[in-house]
């Protein structure tokens, strides 16, 4: 049963093959069994989950349910969950019991999802390996000596190991897509503004976007139907009407025009990865898609621009963690400055501190124009590059990450190399576009993802292509050894 997709679980629950309580217990048992080795959960809510599952069973009995009522889910620990610890992977919030639900959580609760627990993540979502978490690194189920990617590494690892049928993630520079790629699952980063950011602890407000991390595109579509939509509590949330994301899943992709950016297949891409992605693209051609080389000339500048914009916003967003109203407070502060400096110095880890300092620097007097404004100008160029490309094509295809998962501790002391590995993901966030990573094969028994980038609000199209690809391939069905 734990190998089932959301769609299959929905049928099983509806046909009373299994109750939500049984299903929830099954996943909770797996969580407890494997969390020691994977470390993908920060919190497992056993009691609340079972209670919620019983309630779901009652709702089904009373015929007051949705198709997804009673299905377990793992929430990334960046989403506030009322009455449940919400740490954001940081010592700063180790003692923080969120007093309210994020919009995404509220919507999933209302749809009847049962929250199994809160997944591990890079501290404040800053990282590409899940090694910056205060709660320790998450392991990749395909090889536990390797990282799962980040920052939504806990969610990716949990779904890949079938400890949860689906999970939420957030993506500021690739944090859904890259771990999805490294763990062999499907991860969708929606258009900026498609999913509410309310209650999602901010890293970089103009880049952050929550989305599904699932076994299949169809499951991602089912979750999108629940979480997407306008939220009056988020000023940047889009008022655009929401698609039924399952509606076009089975459409043919005959005649689909795919752009292949030459910058995505140049040096810096591991040749084994290139081969797998090219095979994936061939598969799409077999389904009737037509490919064409395109140019995204400012791709290389996306990393420097991103590492100005994201730290600038984070330096300000993280100022609220000051030891006064919530979160870590140092022992016996001698005065106000001591309270601030020590609470923050002790509460934040090294990578977070680095980014806060870079952010404070690029916004400070005398540097603002040269760094922050320059980066926002480049952002304009990057967005224009995409818009030009989309005049001739429907979607862009390429690799999600520059390589497969790397070994734990391999890159942790080299932040710049780690940053450069985000090459194919960050420009999408700078432009605010939707993109999906789908499993496309393996190199040395480690998964490789293929990325599809769509134009604004074209999540339906991305899910359709991904679903058609998954109808024709089996990569997404592979289960890491030891977790069958």
């Amino acid at each position: 049963m734990h190998q089932s997709t959301l769609a299959q679980l929905s049928v099983a629950l509806e046909s009373k093959q299994i109750s939500s309580e049984e299903l929830t217990r099954l996943y909770l048992d797996r969580c407890k069994k494997y969390n020691d080795s994977l470390n993908c959960f920060i919190t497992i809510n056993e009691d609340e989950a079972i209670e919620k599952a019983k309630f779901a069973d009652q709702q089904r009995a009373d015929n007051k349910h949705t198709a997804l009522t009673g299905i377990p889910v793992a929430q990334k620990d960046i989403f506030c969950t009322n009455g449940i610890k919400t740490s954001c992977g940081s010592k700063m919030l180790d003692n923080f019991i969120a007093p309210y639900d994020a919009t995404i959580v509220e919507k999933m609760n209302n749809a009847g999802f049962v929250t199994l627990g809160k997944t591990n993540m890079d501290e404040f979502a800053m990282g590409s390996s899940n090694e910056t978490s205060f709660y320790g690194a998450v392991k990749n189920p395909w090889n536990t000596e390797y990282v799962p990617g980040g920052s939504s590494g806990g969610s990716a690892s949990a779904v890949a190991a079938r400890l949860a049928p689906i999970a939420t993630g957030t993506d500021t520079g690739g944090s859904i897509r890259q771990p999805a790629s490294l763990c062999g699952i499907t991860g969708l980063k929606p258009t900026y503004g498609r999913v509410s950011r309310y209650g999602m602890i901010a890293f970089a407000s103009s880049l952050d976007q929550g989305g599904p991390m699932a076994l299949t595109a169809e499951d991602a579509a089912l979750m999108m139907n629940v979480i997407a939509g306008f939220d009056e509590r988020d000023s940047t949330s889009a008022e655009q009407t929401v698609d039924d994301y399952t509606e076009k899943l089975n459409d043919s992709i005959e005649g689909l025009k795919i752009g292949l950016p030459k910058e995505y297949f140049g040096e810096g891409l591991d040749s084994n990865i290139a081969k797998i992605v090219e095979e994936g693209i061939k598969e799409l051609e077999k389904l009737g898609a037509v490919c064409k080389e395109i140019e995204l000339p400012n791709t290389e500048l996306s990393i420097p621009a991103y590492y100005v914009v994201a730290p600038a916003e984070c330096s300000s967003n993280l100022s609220r963690f000051d030891g006064v109203r919530f979160g870590h407070r140092c022992e016996e502060p001698t005065d106000l400055s001591d309270l601030y400096c020590r609470s923050r110095g002790e509460g934040f880890g090294k990578e977070v501190k680095r980014r806060i300092m870079i952010g404070a620097y690029v916004l400070s007097a005398g540097y603002y124009d040269a760094y922050y404004l320059k980066a926002q100008q480049i952002r304009h160029l990057i967005r224009d590059d995409f818009q030009n490309a989309f005049k001739d094509i429907d979607v862009i295809a390429g690799p999600t990450a520059t390589g497969t998962a790397f070994k734990l501790n391999e890159m942790i002391d080299d932040p710049v190399s780690m940053y450069l590995s985000d090459l194919y993901t960050v420009s999408v966030n700078l432009a605010g576009l939707p993109a999906i990573s789908v499993p496309a094969g393996f190199v040395n028994n480690l998964p490789v993802g293929m990325q599809l980038i769509g134009n604004y609000f074209e999540e339906s199209r991305l899910l359709n292509i991904a679903h058609q690809f998954q109808q024709a391939t089996d990569h997404h069905k592979a289960i890491p050894g030891g977790f069958e």
Binding site: N95, F96, I97, P99, T191, Y192, G193, S206, E232, S235, T236, A238, E239, N298, L301, P304, A305, Y307, V308, S315, D322, V324, R325, F326, G327, P333, T334, D335, L336, D338, C341, R342, R344, G345, F348, K353, R354, M357, I358, G359, A360, Y361, V362, S364, Y371, K374, A375, Q376, Q377, I378, R379, H380, L381, R383, P415, V416, Y419, A431, G432, Y456
Partner: protein, 95 residues
């Protein structure tokens, strides 16, 4: 751009981050490396390009002037490290 010790200290103070004296050289190196990487931006001429702060250039939606929140002080203050009489406490500030 490379950041020397005093600049690292200045930024750390601006961001109210206590950092150990012994870690400063390390920060200095790492931050300098990051800034050098970031300066690749200078390879492109952006004269006349409008900076964009948001991917989708939309305008703000405004809400009606209505009181929708009720008093949840006790609920919120469960997360507070130190309170008294409904107030959050910080070491005495001398103005």
């Amino acid at each position: 751009m490379s950041l020397d010790k005093s600049e690292v200290q200045k930024i750390a103070w601006l961001a109210r981050l206590a950092i150990d004296e012994q870690d400063i050289p390390n920060y200095s190196d790492e931050l300098s490396n990051i800034l050098s990487m970031v300066e690749r931006m200078n390879s492109v001429d952006t004269d006349g390009i409008t900076p964009i702060a948001h991917p989708l250039e939309l305008s703000a939606r405004l809400r009606a002037d209505e009181v929708t929140e009720e008093n949840q002080r006790d609920h919120f203050q469960k997360d507070a490290p130190l309170t008294d009489d409904g107030c959050y406490l910080v070491p005495k500030v001398i103005e």
